[in-house]
Amino acid sequence: MNKNDIKLIIIVLFITVMLFSLSLFQKKASIANVYHENDLILEIDLSINKTYEVDGDNGKVVIEVLNNQIRVVEENSPYHLCSKQGFIGNSGQSIICLPNKIIIELPNNELDTEVS
């Protein structure tokens, strides 16, 4: 190993740290959109801890917001996949309840919510 190898390792580590910090910076969602068959039925502010109820195809879907994260608490489906998924809080993530046709999305456009 010579000097240039060490320089290379330092450069790569620097880029890695940059990319990590960039992804941490981007990944804070502030709102969640709830869709039922592509129709926006609810917009949730993630800064308020609260429980919401929406109507899915198989009955009520209970959604809980806690510490800027969101999860599905209760729903009626064969495998309960979306309530087993647990909390999500990063933009770009989503919870999809296929039997209920309910989709919870955390959008990337944080600027819109900061203005309002």
Binding site: N2, N4, L8, I9, V12
Partner: protein, 167 residues
């Protein structure tokens, strides 16, 4: 003829290393695309002791052989490996000749290029843009795996120079 035999043996060795590596449960599953890259030892060695053309021949043949043996020809894994190998050979050759890097540095460059090649293919072929989020992880791990491959290859080159060239 001697060169041809040696390259054939190296090809067999690289296929064997690839298969051994796939059976190691070391990192399986946590981060897609993460592996030690032991087969890169052979590629790197050929770049140093033979030529760029030979490295491409052996690299491409290895991907085809591993495809037949393990992953399946023209599967997604096949195209991932192919793009990774082609980009890493090109980048290692350039790094060796342009920068004053030792074999370890060149090996790290190869490891990084392999990751980037696979990510580019996954985005172009499968439209999986979310793969880009794994880039920092792959970059981070390419340093230790690159150093490991580099050290092994350095010993191999030393051994080759001392023992085999006196035949």
């Amino acid at each position: 003829m001697k060169k041809f035999t040696r390259l054939s043996m190296l090809l067999a060795l690289s296929v064997a290393l690839n298969v051994i590596e796939a059976s190691l449960p070391l990192f399986n599953g946590y981060i897609p695309g993460l592996k030690l890259g032991l087969a890169n030892i052979v590629t790197l060695f050929i770049i140093y002791k033979f030529s760029l053309k030979d490295a491409f021949y052996v690299g491409i043949l290895r991907v085809f052989l591993v495809g037949i043996l393990r992953t399946g020809l023209f599967s997604t894994t096949f195209f991932f490996s192919l793009s990774g190998v082609l980009l890493s050979i090109a980048c290692m050759y350039l790094a060796k000749n342009l920068f004053k890097l030792s074999i370890i540095g060149v090996s790290i460059i190869g490891s990084i290029a392999h990751s980037i090649g696979q990510i580019i293919t996954s985005i172009l072929l499968l439209q999986m843009t979310s793969m880009i989020y794994y880039l920092p992880w792959l970059l981070l791990f390419s340093i230790p795996t690159g150093i490991l491959v580099g050290i092994i290859c350095k010993q191999l080159v030393k051994f080759y120079d001392e023992v085999l060239s006196f035949e």
